[in-house]
């Protein structure tokens, strides 16, 4: 059993590996992971002044993106289309203007609707064409994608039983079928959970407006209405990849599960603001009622 704990992309991470690694293997693996995270961060973080995303927010033109971008951009584009543009990376400037900026000013300015995908960007692998300078935000799925990327590093190193946990957005794999018990945090009280999900060879991601909340907003803002969705307290999605589960937690704030299920395979659990809930049949969890 090997455990790594570290801070990255502004949040806490924990990686549990079932098998025993030598201290040398551990050191090399951690180094590989940390280097990979740095590459991801320098490309996609809108909180860094030296990132590619920041550069693209100031300049139009063609930008060559890292290899991982194709999966990132194409999945975002699919979700953009499925949600009629409600899940969009072009939400960046809206989040900044609402106060969720690099300095966390949390001071609201006037909000402007973001440009459409077609107006602002075009993906021609490996180039992203910025038709107009726009601040892209990959917050909806970026962390989940990074969980998958780290998991792939583990698998490349012949580690097939593990859990990569980016503060509650996590991916678990077990060769021996060991179930991971994941508490579902109460949206009002982080010392409580409202249920326990059983995760096996899946990813689970959660999203709630309870913590990253300021003024009239939380971390999800509807690009059409320029308001944060109010009817939902918390959402969890279980899917094969963490990237998909993460993107779905944002999408479910805007679009009904029934619509999303036409395009994706996933399980979900939603707590509405009246504390009623909706859970898909296959969402394997004990929920306290």
């Amino acid at each position: 059993m090997t455990k790594f704990e570290f801070q990255a992309i502004g949040t806490g991470w924990q990686i549990d590996i079932a098998k025993e690694l030598s201290s040398e293997e551990e050191a090399l693996l951690l180094l590989e992971i940390m280097d990979r995270i740095k590459l991801f961060d320098i490309a996609y973080s809108r909180f860094r002044k030296d990132s590619l995303v920041t550069l693209m927010s100031e300049n139009s033109g063609e930008f060559v993106l890292p290899e991982d971008a194709n999966l990132m951009i194409s999945n975002y584009k699919k979700m953009y289309d499925v949600t009629n543009g409600l899940v969009t990376p072009l939400i960046g400037q809206v989040l900044v203007d609402a106060g969720y900026d690099a300095d966390y000013s949390l001071i609201e300015k006037d909000l402007t609707k973001p440009s459409s995908w077609e107006e602002a960007i075009e993906w021609q692998e490996p180039k992203l064409i910025m038709k107009t300078p726009s601040l892209l935000d990959f917050g909806a799925g970026g962390k989940g994608y990074l969980v998958d990327i780290i998991s792939e590093i583990l698998e490349k190193n012949k580690i097939f039983s593990y859990c990569v946990d980016g503060s509650g957005d996590l991916r678990q794999r077990s060769e021996v079928g060991a179930i991971l018990k994941v508490g579902l945090e109460h949206p009002d009280d982080s010392t409580q959970v409202v249920g326990v999900a059983n995760i096996l060879n899946q990813s689970i991601c959660g999203s709630a407006g309870n913590r990253r909340k300021w003024g009239n907003f939380h971390h999800i803002i509807n690009p059409e209405s320029l308001t944060s969705p109010k009817g939902i307290l918390a959402i969890w999605a279980v899917a094969e990849t963490t990237f998909l589960a993460d993107l779905l937690t944002t999408a479910l704030f805007f679009v009904s599960p029934e619509i999303l299920l036409k395009h994706y395979i996933f399980e979900y659990f939603i707590i509405y603001s009246d504390y009623s809930m909706k859970k898909s049949v296959g969402f394997d969890a004990e929920v306290f009622t």
Partner: protein, 192 residues
Amino acid sequence: MDQNKANYWVTGSVVAVVLLLASYGVFKYIKNDTPDSDTIETPLEVTTGTPISTLKSNTPKTTTITTTTSTKTTTTVPTTTTTTTTTTVPVNNQAYKDGTYTAVGNYFTPGGEESITVTLILKNGIVTDSNVVSNAIRPQSKEFQAIFIANYKPLVIGKSISTLYLDKVSGSSLTPKGFNDAVSKIKVQAAI
């Protein structure tokens, strides 16, 4: 659709009040409001406090508590209660004995009196299960109670993390340190 929603809320509110009063009655009963006796197997009547004058006519007035005669636990419900404990508010979970408790909540509709039976299973001070049985007579009440029964269960409740075995916790996720710091600063500023 909207009409149904409205109906649901009306029913929901009415029955929530019924449930509250019923629970209050149960707890009051468990706590000390019954004398030491061996006559528990006969139904007991408990009036749940003074009626609130502002309540409308279709709100519950009294709650009848009936202990379940089938379980052993109910016969020991009113154990030795001393006068010293009666003045304290029962915030301690230990104050409630394990067991199955049933209460009938009566309320008045524009068409007359209706009732609903609520059963709670209490274990270590926590309601581990509940059951609601409709006693409605009138078609509309039947409909309302059915909507309530179909919907009341899925309301989530929290359990303390420390009481459960968990490998992980998932929730609001990605709560950046900087964000938390900023919020703390704002709280400090707001306090000045």
